[in-house]
Each structure stands twice: as structure tokens, then as C-alpha cells.
Amino acid sequence: MADMKTAAYICKGCELGTRLDAAALVKTATKEGKMHLVREHDFLCSAEGVAMIQNDIDNEGVTHAAICACSRRAKTEAFNFPTTAISRGNLREGVIWVRPDTDEARETTQEMAEDYVRMACAEVKAMTQPKGNPNTGGVKTLLVVGGGISGMTAALEAARAGYKVVLVEKTGALGGWTAKLHKRIPTREPFKSPEDNGIADLIAQIEADANIKVYLNATLAKTAGAPGRFKVDIAVESGPTATEDVGAIVQATGFTPYDMNKLPHLGGGQANVVDQAGLEALARAANGGPIKRADGKEVKSVVFVQCAGQRDTTGEHLQYCSGHCCNTSIKQAMYFKDGNPDIDTVVLYTDLRTPGNGEDFYRSAQNKGVIFSKGAVSRVESAGGGCKVKFKDLILNEETEAEADLVVLATGMVPTSGPDLDALAEATRVAEGGDEAAKEQVIQLRSKSVLNLEYRQGPDIPQFKHGFNDSHFICFPYETRRTAIYAAGPVRRPMDTAQAVEDATGAAMKAIQAMENAGLGRAAHPRAGDLSFPTARLEGCTQCKRCTVECPFGAIDEDERRFPLFNESRCRRCGTCMGACPVRVISFENYSVNTVGAQIKAVDIPDEFSEKPRILILACENDAYPALDMAAMNRYEYSAFVRAIPVRCLGSVNTIWITDALNSGFDGVMLMGCKHGEEYQCHFVKGSELGRYRMSKVYDTLKGMNLEEQRLMDLEVAITDIETLPQRINDYAAKIVEMGMSPFKGL
């Protein structure tokens, strides 16, 4: 860049001035960092110090600044210069706080500091400040798939915020399961009786809202594009296919009740045995009058069997609990009791689960005479004119049975979440081999698709556990793996209507946010607001497809020439593609093979007789790097031989960095990334796993270089490893010393 003007700033505050030779650092930045402008300051983060930098930007035309002071995690408010490329040389947490203040340590500590100055200068010169791409699509219409209470709520809440909404419902009417409920679980005090299902009112509001366009008997035939510029083909039963431009999607496709015919031992399929949905139908038919069975007999006694086909340990049925069923059975028992207190209603449960104010609802049911027995049901048989329920009374500790005119099975929720993408991918792989059965399976799986996304990585959003489209993260329930597409309601997680309303409102919030940010070229969570985005030098691309396959967010498709086709607004800026690229043609403006590579090359490697090994640390910026910072805040010391570089994710680590480091004489490399596997911690899903997988390849390279495997060390680090991490670093440093210097120095 022609108009690049670089500056380095050396802070002398927080004892940096006394612990380090600042003059020497200035020299380093000038001579080796080749910075146009180098200044030192006693207290750089002070108003005065910040003003000095701002002045250089305004009047000296500084475009790139290396701030050599504290960690990039500290003093962010002070060192905030939006238009300028900034790198941070971590002299405080990275150097003096982890080194003893002794004469013998002084030399190595100074070397460490000088390296961090070199690295900061090298990095900033390789950066450009991203401006963001405002042309990634600015459509602000929300697509809601599913017209149940979740979908209708998402639509209305978005409309209330002033956004246009397209609502697609596959049946002929709005309302979903909630519309089939006689009444619903109370949502307000005193939580004593069932309340109106509220659907009629919701439908009226939708119909009255000019911002909401409803398609009934409609499904998504195709969803192409990206956040801010989705194009959806809506197949309408007996009608032409409509096309809509939308900016984001809320998938509220709900659930179906677990098929009770799979529960013959509990009477599933027998006369006089219904599931909860069946009971709702009977209650609606009775319309306030006495509830009658299918055969018309008035029900005088009813038994509710909780967890029917749920919380199953045999692997045959649902392993999970559907959360709402206890309250639902309580509600349904009240249908009987409120009508006629003399009807015997018994609820058989093993753990009664009525969280929050549900406890009041439970109490109210007891007060109305509903009997609750802690019992494990073994069989339901038809007997006489009704049913006989055999169960073990866990309190009285005896096998016993109850007779009833009607038995209600509390079966669980099965999400309508489309095909399992992994299964589909596998089937597709086999099918490509010409396997006919597999081809059938592919067709069958694809036919279950809800969204029909035109994504390289499959037609729907990935499933989490038990087929639910939930987020994997406790702190971030809406952290989706398909940008701007959010699941809401029972398709995300089993829940009752009240929770679904809350969930749908949250999902609408995230969808609106995604549209707003897509329009501004900003990234979505977790790098929210990041304006950088990956570009590929296609001239160099070998069409290996690794980037398209490995992108955790399905951001990259392939064009007709099989080149990667980046959909920026789908991208979450993790850099997994950059790490994947064997020919290194993918980079971000401010984070590239070069920004990190240059830092590695900038490190001064002492000759092999110096007894001073150099160890490169590539640390995940979300867990490992903060852990290092906090270790420093506690003044836990670690080896002066390490040089740490934060990376966006281990997934972004390109193997060239490792091989370059080892080639240029580094004696060891430590990778620090977060937990992977089933309970993975990586917020870029497979990032740390992929990074590690790729590293396993590097070991071959090491062999080729006749280097010991131990020269490369892969650590799983949690943000809380504040005490243990320095120890692990020191152990590794000791091991390296023991192993001896790398033969590649000074080549």
C-alpha cells in the first residue's frame, strides 16, 4: 500500500519503563520494525497518551499503529481508533508480569519484549483495516416457517418492531398444535386453572397486520442466497410457486407427538387409550360438557401415565423428557375435575416436573382432588369396559393396579427438523458410488427437508441432540450454525406454549439483528460486528474444495467451475477456510496467513549455541489467550523462551505457520485450543477439532525434516487453566531444552 504510514508506540507505564530498556525497544521498532514513526510514553493509555496517538493519526497521517503496551484485552476503550489498523505488542501481560524481576532474568525478559515489538510491527504492516462490504444484501423481510404459536409469535413480534414478514404454513390454517388444545397451561397468577389457548386472538392479530403476508398450504421448495439476500421459492398447494426475497429465517416447524403405537405394552393403539393430543380432541369435542370416549361412553375414571415412551433407557424410545407433559396432564386432569369433581383422576409419575410456578398448578390440582401416585407403570391392558393399569407403587413399595374408563399416555415431542445432515452426507457419498439403495435413501431424506437450502453443506440446519435444532451453547441459545436462520419453539427444544412464545420472540430478535448486520457487512455472533471477510486469490486456487467442505457454517459454495464461492453474510469470520487452504489463497484484511506468518518470521532466533530455545505458542483468542493473560495478572511466571500469538480459532491455523516456524529455527510449537469432541467448547464448532486433525498431518512433515514429534505440542486449554497453564508451558520448555536445539537455526 502506497499511502501506508506506520507508527509504533512504546509504553513505559506499569513498570514497563523500569523493567525494560525502552530505548532499546524504540531502536528495535525503528531499525528492525522499520516503522516510520516511533514514540515512547510514560503512560500511554492516559488521555494525554491517547491524544498523542490520535494526533499522529489526524496530522501525521498514521494509518498503521503498533501499540506496544499491555494485552489486547486490556485498555480497549483507550486504544480504540476505528479507522486505523492496530496491532498490540503485549509487553505487560506477555512479558514483565510473567517474568521475575531479577538481574539474571533481565536479559531474556528484554529479548522477549523486543520480539513482541518486532512481531507487533510485522503484524500491523501486513494488516489493512477492514471497511466492510455494504453490498452483501439489504433485504429486511423476515421469513417465518411454521404457523403455530411459535411462528405466529415470531411474525407478530417482528412486525411490531416494524419489519415485513412472510409466514409460510404447510397446513390450511394457522394455529398449529396449540389451536388443537382445549385450553392451555396457565401463564399468569394464580396458576390455578387452565386458560384459553389464545390462538383465535393471535390469528386475528396476524390477519390484521399489513406487514405480515401469509401463505397457507405452502412449503419451501427452494431457499437460495444468503442473509440479507435469500430468495425462497414457496410451493403453494394447487397454485403457482411464489418467490420471495427475505433477509433472515425463523424456523418454527414444531413437533409431532411420539407415536403411541410404538408403546403396545402401555396400551398404545388399544381402544380407550389416547395420547395427550387425543385427550385434547375429546375435551374439545365435549366442549365443556362431560368428556366422552371414542365409543361415546362418558368417562368416570381416568389414569394418566407420565413419561410414556420418554426418559427411556432401553434405546427403543425417547431418551429425553419433554418438559411440558407433567403440567399438561395436570391441566387435562382438571378438564375432568372442573367439570365433575366425582370423576376419579389419577396421575402416575416417577418424578413430577412442574418447575417455577408450575408448583402452584400442581398444588391446585391436588386441591381439586387429582390423585398423584409415584408409580412405575409396567402394563396397560383393556379390561371390562375400560383399562387396567399395572404399576409398582414406589411409596407403598408394592405391585398394584388401577382400573379406569380411559388411559392417557403422556408421550413426548418429536421435532419436525428435517433430515439429519450427517446421515444425508453419508448417504450421498455412498450414492455417488452408484449404490441404488443409497440413492433411494438420499431422495427419501431430502423429501423430509424443511428449508431446502441450496447450501453446499445440505438442505437444512444441523441438528444437535435427539434431532432438535438447538444451540450447543449454554450462554448462547441462539448460536446457530446457519447464519441468520434460527430455530424457535419445540423444534429447537421440547417446551410448552409459554416457553415457545418467549423463545419465538428471542429468535425474531436474532433474525432481525442478522438482517441489520448483513446489510452492513457485519459478522454475526460470536465475532459480532467484525467487518473483515475472507477473499480468495482464485488464480492460485486448486479447487481442492477443502474450504467448502470444512466451513462450519456452510458459507462457501462452489461455482460452476468448482471454485469456492464465498457468501460473506453467511460467514462468521473464524478463518477455518484460511487454515484449510493448502495453497494459502484465502485471507482476511486484518487476519491472514501473512499477518501471523510475518510475526513468526519477525522473531529473532538466537543461534544454536545460545542455549536459548524459541517456542511458538498459537493460542485460541477466546480461551487460551485470556488464560495466559489472567495467569500474568496473578504473576504466575513462565518461560522466557515462548512467543505467543493469538489466533481466531485453531481451525484458522494454517500448517504453513508450523512448518515455517520450525524451518526458521523455532525449537517447538505449542497449539492451545479449546475442548473438542461431543461436549466441544469451540464456538466455531469444529474449529479446534479440524486444527488438531490438520496438525496430525504435520507430524509426517516433521519426520521428513528429521525433527522429533515432540517439537509440536497440542494442548487442550480451558479459560480457567490459569494456574496449570504456566506449569504446562514450563514443562514443555524443559522438555525442549532436554531435547536440544533445533538443527534448523540460521539456515
Binding site: 480497549t76 409415584k374 411409596i395 449454554i474 450462554c475 441459545p477 420472540t505 460486528g529 479459560i719
Partner: protein, 427 residues
Amino acid sequence: MTSVVATNQTILVVGGGIAGMTAALEAAETGKNVVLVEKNPYLGGRTAQLYRYFPKMCHPTCGLEINLRRLKANPRIQVYTLAEVTGIEGRKGDYTVNVRLTPRYVNDNCTACGECGKAVEAEVSDAFNYNLGKVKVAYLPHAMAYPQRYVLDPSIVGTPDAERAKAACKYGAVDLDQKEETVSLRAGAIVWATGWQPYDAEKITPYRYGEFPNVITNVEFERLADPHGPTGGKILRPSDGREAKNIAFIQCAGSRDENHLRHCSRFCCMGSLKQTHYVQEAYGDEGKSTIYYIDIRAIDRFEDFYAKVKANPNVSFVKSKVARISQDKDGNPVCWGVDTEGYKRYATTHDLVVLAVGMEPSVKGVDIPAEVMADSSGFIMADPQNAGIFGAGCATNALDVNRAVQSATAAALRAIQVVNKVARAEG
């Protein structure tokens, strides 16, 4: 004098726990201006005081790091710590709010270098660790405290320590002249995310909390298990510092009880199941956990987690609400009761008893504007009058972290609806 830039299109978020931070961030990342006030000197609330989350056993500070990074990167959020709302006037779309700012005695110059902490001598009990330990009167509340600035305990004022702290700071960050002040700001909508407090275990008299040192609460146990807690992560008994290997967890300590909290606090069953992992982690097969429960409420997919714990031979379950706790001559707590599944009496001695105390809304008893409706348990209810003040997180219900964040995300949209309307009206 502090001045806050805010208009009737600003969203005020009260409470800087995970719910409040979420509401503030979601709104700001949608382009709204937000003022976030927190009464503690740091953000993060109670989640910052947890060691691990169920069911993933991951670390809350990981999510906190992400949220703090989002916050640092977002110029639309103004944060005020040591700040409490004292009054709200006006109506939906046009509120005037009074916020009381208590002095931190440390200004923005602070670099968190820690010299003041080294200089002072006096100590006060460590609120962040539920007073299980002590901190210097000049302290950083915890390793990830944001703002990353030290705090001087008010007790320091006028003592030699105050002068020591002032002298130790090279950057003029120690400012003993700071006075309490009340600022008034405008807002179009308000999100009330004041969170929860653990039910006062001393009120559950049969369990003798406060009298028997080896009877502690679930929130305190989190600090014991945390490597950055008062025991460095070792599970030791308060009475004699001995390793506590045989631990009782008593469910519904205060919850589901008309003498205490009528509601079920939802998180405590999972919390105790999680804490049995801490015991396993610390002592392997020597660590024994016993959970005394009425119903195990491991709702929806958390059932998987319950199943895993049930499979652990070192964890036993007794379906019984413990009737009372006594203490033997060695200071061991003894749990008395009856296993209701088949009626078996027990009087079991443990090293330590952990009371799974329930959630009480923090708003309870606190003076919040009449417009905010609370139910009889003190939880904020959705307001039928559709005012501009919205509850979020555990201020609205007994929720786990995941659901609290959901609720806060929803609250952000409700607030945005109000300010967008204001914006449209004002063109």
C-alpha cells in the same frame, strides 16, 4: 459530575448479569443505543461466580469472555457499575430515570497494575466468594472483572490505607474525593434484569445453616470447587479444613415449601447433579455424593445428564426431604429422615452438607416502579398494560442460564419495538 448521553430512543438495561448483558448486547448489535447499569463494581453477575455449567461442564467465564469482547467492541453501550436505579418517571417511550452512582474511588486512569492492592493492609470479607474468604481493601473483584479497574472498599476512606493506596498509584487513578451522586437519564424503554438471590438458608431452621459450619449452600460450594475460589478449588470443610469426601446434597432447601418459597427454583436439581461431578473430579472413587430429593427435575434433554450421574456408583439418591440436621462430636453433620420409597429410616453422617437453596428474585422488596408488575413470589410478570418496562432473566422466573438468556433476548426485542416506534414517530 458524570453525564450520561441518552435520549428517548435509548434502551436502559438494569442489571449487568448474563441476562442484562445479553439484552444490552442484542439491542446494541441491532444498532440501538444502550445504557447498562450494574450495582456491583463488575459485570457478569452470578454466572461469574459459578465454576462450571450443566450439562456441558464448561466454564461460565468462557461465555463471559465472549460477551465482554462483544461489549468492548461495541461503542453503542455505555456501562455504569456501582450504579443503582432509584426512581423512574414518565411513560413508555419517554422515561426519566434517576441512577445513584456510588464511588469506586478509582478513576479511568487505573491500569489494573495492582500497586494499590500491594500497598494497603486492611482486609474485608470477599463478597465475590460469598464471604468465604477475605480481600484487601483495594482489590480487583475477580480475574475477569470488567471494567478492569481496582475498587477501594468504602471502609478505607479516612484510614492510613487510603493514603497508602493513593501514594502507590503512579497514575492518579486513586481518587478519594469521589462522592456519591445521582444522575438522571432518558430512556424510551427499560429492561429490568436484576436477577436473583439465593434464599436465606438460615431461615430453614432444621438445617442449622449458620450454626453448623459444615452445612453450606450450593452457591458457596461453587466457590469451593472453583480453582480461583477461596480454597484454590479444594473441597475442604469450613470447620477444620479437612477434605470433604462424603457429601450430602439436600434438594428443595427453601423451594417447593410454603414456609419458604412456594415455587420450584428449577435449576437446583441440575445444580446438585453437576456438583456431584466436582466431588468425583476432586476425589475419584473416594468421593461419595448423596442426593436427598423429592422429585429430580432434570427437564428435557438434561435427562441425559441425570442418566449419566445415576450411572455413577459414587452417587446415591434418596427420595426424601431431610427432616433435620444434627452435628456429632467431630463436627460432622448428620442427616435425619426417612427414605419414602419403602419407608426406611436413616441418620446418616456426612463430611459436608450442601443445601440446594432456591432462587428468590432480587427485585423482591426492592422499590421498583409501579408499572412493573410482580407476582406473589416477587417475579416480574409480563405487563398487560404493555408498558415500556420489560423483565428479563431470573427477575421474571426461576430459570437456568440458557433460559435466562432466551428471556433476555426476547426482552431486547420488546424494548426495540418501543424505541423503533418512537423513532418512526419522530421521523
